[in-house]
Symmetry: C2
Subunit: 117 residues, 2 copies
């Protein structure tokens, strides 16, 4: 659309001239919204989204070295993305000897998926 | 876990000592990941997520004034969030007289929902 949408909110509504029907309140409360938004934000990068896709497809746990050939980014960039995914509770990792193995946490995206679906 | 996960990626892998099985490639290609990540990023804020929840629940189109009482933020902040949701292709708006009416675009989150589900 080519109209200036930013104009409308700046116009004061005249008393007795409602612009539309009252809306209903959100189904999701603030705490649910904060949790789901954190997951969504972590998925808001194409590489992180593809990392999660690979980890979900892969039955086992995956170390960062196995991810490097799949993405056109450095290992340190991948580690940075994995940290963001861990901070959001989407993936976790376990250490075996020298390697850290990443995996998707069960139901990590379940709440967001249910809301979107 | 309390181990230092950041150590592992910095250790060079010895030749012939694979850390894990080769992983599979992502199911989602780069273009799909970019599209879905854009939607996820726009939903990566609790207020934007709740705005979308309200608009999905509400059968009609809603102007920014009807949203103000639902959220503890200013009208200009709401307009800013609505702009981000429009830029991501999740909502759109139409102008009727002085007011801009927002609504969720059909199937805006369908691709992301299908991938998450």
């Amino acid at each position: 659309m080519d109209v200036d949408l930013e104009l409308a909110p700046k116009v004061k509504r005249a008393a007795g001239a409602p612009c539309c029907e009252p809306v209903v309140y959100p189904n999701v409360d603030r705490d649910e919204a904060v949790r789901m938004a954190e997951v969504a934000k972590a998925l808001g990068d194409p590489i992180r989204l593809q990392i999660v896709d690979v980890l979900r497809k892969h039955a086992g746990k995956v170390c960062v070295y196995e991810l490097v050939p799949l993405f056109d980014v450095s290992q340190s960039t991948l580690s940075h993305h994995l940290k963001k995914l861990r901070d959001a509770g989407i993936v976790d990792a376990e250490r075996r000897g020298l390697w850290a193995y990443y995996y998707v946490l069960p139901d990590a995206v379940g709440e967001l998926a249910a809301w979107l679906g």
